[in-house]
């Protein structure tokens, strides 16, 4: 398994569905008989994992959306966890 880098193109893995749940006020990842409840940052990263944007682009989008700087390492760290959990696949 190759660790995610800035040029990786992540997407939500086959067999998982990401959706916003109004009742829980969060994004959730759904899979057979299970659910991962995501906090805000995890949800914001994962919803940008569309299989088209690379990590550089995702970081840029997040930095713009939240008026923040230097998010790259946090995003990469999360994607490494998400990959380990098989929530995302890297292209």
């Amino acid at each position: 398994m190759t660790a995610p880098g800035v040029a990786s193109v992540p997407r939500v893995a086959t067999g998982f569905r990401l959706q916003w749940e109004p009742a829980q006020q969060c994004h959730v990842l759904l899979y057979p008989e299970g659910m991962v409840k995501l906090n805000q940052s995890a949800g914001e990263i994962l919803r940008r994992c569309d299989g088209a944007s690379d990590v550089n682009a995702i970081v840029a989008q997040l930095e713009e959306a939240f008026g923040a700087q230097g998010l790259r390492d946090d995003v990469l760290a999360f994607l490494a966890i998400a990959q380990q959990q098989r929530w995302v696949e890297l292209g």
Partner: protein
């Protein structure tokens, strides 16, 4: 940015873990809707979790009521929807219910024995939006599978597994584990891998309902359990990345209770075929507790306001030794049905807990399994005839039966 995401995997009782909240906080929405569409089933499994008195509850909700319940539960926040039973495929409106659940944004799960899942129905369910199929097996061998289910279904299930894979569904294979098949765990895992399951639940039997009636036949020895868990661990390593393996721990042998359905009225909303809403699929056995009828009550009112759902929420209902126990928020006193079945009191500590005054009942059952004494009576298969025979006619409920013999 920090990231914390809490994941969980459902066990055989279909749980979704909600995150971080203490049980004593006000209830959140139900997250799991378990629609038990029917108690009709072509199989007669000796460990079935349907109520022993299911034959008395043979009325089934019409389609329109199910559609309304799906909508109301989704509005409340339910997001996982399981169609179960009995065998849900005996309902001819299954495709219609799946389509509505899909439209509403549920993740839809079909929990099936496979009987009735023809290629044509699989195509129809796929186009209705079904997300996943959980297929139950009883064993890796035709002999034990067919004996335990009292049907000739082993070959059929193999065929159905291929139909499921052909539709591209992720497949969870579920196998209830007990004394009669636990020594085959390695072969069961191999079989699941061979048919392409992405998940395998090795669900050690929970001893209520039919499994309680048949406990002497089904309870394994400690050595059997140790061996099965060790084999499962080896395979888990070997299959990492291909199949996820879940070994649902057996509570009789552990001395520690498990949360009942992740906490009474916290996550799971189970609907019986006749429309009665339950915090777990066997809660109806508990005496003196009324549960809301969704033919006349809204899902919201059932979940938040009913006596049945509120009675064992949180920790306020507890007695000693639970009420001062350091683990009370973790295990919530264990399973209420088990407390009733083994201690005769639904508000008692679950007797599988070493701190329970009735723990000797569980120890004796395990000791009996260790000694390998022949069971006092033959295995009872789940069918309407036995259901009626095991239900006292005067009360109309299994609830009034005394606790099990302990010696």
């Amino acid at each position: 940015m920090t990231v914390s995401a809490a994941a969980c995997k459902a066990s055989a009782v279909h749980e979704v873990t909600s995150v971080g909240a203490l049980a004593s906080e006000p209830p959140g929405p139900p997250l799991w809707l378990l629609a038990e569409l029917t108690y009709r089933c072509p199989l007669h499994c000796a460990f079935c979790f349907n109520p022993v008195d299911f034959a008395l509850h043979d009325k089934e909700l019409p389609t329109a009521d199910w559609l309304r319940i799906l909508r109301e539960a989704r509005e409340l926040g339910a997001v996982q929807c399981g169609f179960s039973g009995g065998e849900p495929l005996v309902r001819e409106d299954l495709e219609e219910l799946v389509a509505e659940a899909h439209r509403l944004g549920y993740y839809t799960n079909l929990l099936t024995s496979g009987v009735g899942l023809t290629a044509a129905r699989a195509v129809a369910l796929k186009s209705a939006g079904l997300d996943h199929v959980q297929l139950s097996f009883q064993d890796s061998t035709r002999e034990v599978n067919d004996f335990l289910s009292h049907t000739r279904t082993f070959d059929l299930k193999q065929k159905v597994a291929r139909i499921v894979k052909d539709q591209g569904w992720p497949m969870v294979m579920n196998c209830v584990i007990h004394r009669l098949n636990i020594d085959h765990v390695g072969r069961i895992i191999e079989m699941a891998d061979a048919i392409g399951a992405e998940y395998l639940e090795l669900a050690n039997t929970q001893y209520y309902s039919w499994a309680f009636e048949n406990r002497e036949h089904l309870l394994p020895t400690r050595e059997q359990l140790r061996e099965a868990e060790a084999i499962t661990d080896q395979w888990r390593e070997r299959l990492a990345g291909r199949m996820r393996l879940f070994f649902v721990a057996p509570d009789y042998h552990e001395g520690r209770p498990k949360r009942c359905v992740n906490g009474w009225g916290s996550t799971l909303l189970s609907i019986a075929p006749d429309g009665v809403a339950l915090p777990c699929h066997t809660a109806r056995m508990l005496p003196g507790l009324s549960f809301p009828d969704l033919r006349t009550t809204s899902v919201r009112s059932a979940w938040f306001d009913s006596e049945g759902f509120n009675r064992f929420r949180g920790t306020g209902w507890m007695k000693e030794p639970c009420s001062s126990c350091e683990f009370r928020e973790q295990d919530l006193g264990g399973c209420r049905c088990q407390a009733f079945l083994l201690a005769g009191d639904a508000a008692a500590a679950d007797p599988v807990c070493a701190k329970s005054p009735q723990h000797a009942v569980v120890q004796e059952a395990v000791a009996r399994a260790e000694r390998g004494e022949p069971p006092a009576r033959p295995l009872v298969f789940r069918d309407p005839k036995h259901s009626r025979a095991l239900t006292p006619p005067t009360t109309g409920a299994a609830a009034s039966r005394p606790g099990p013999p302990v010696s």
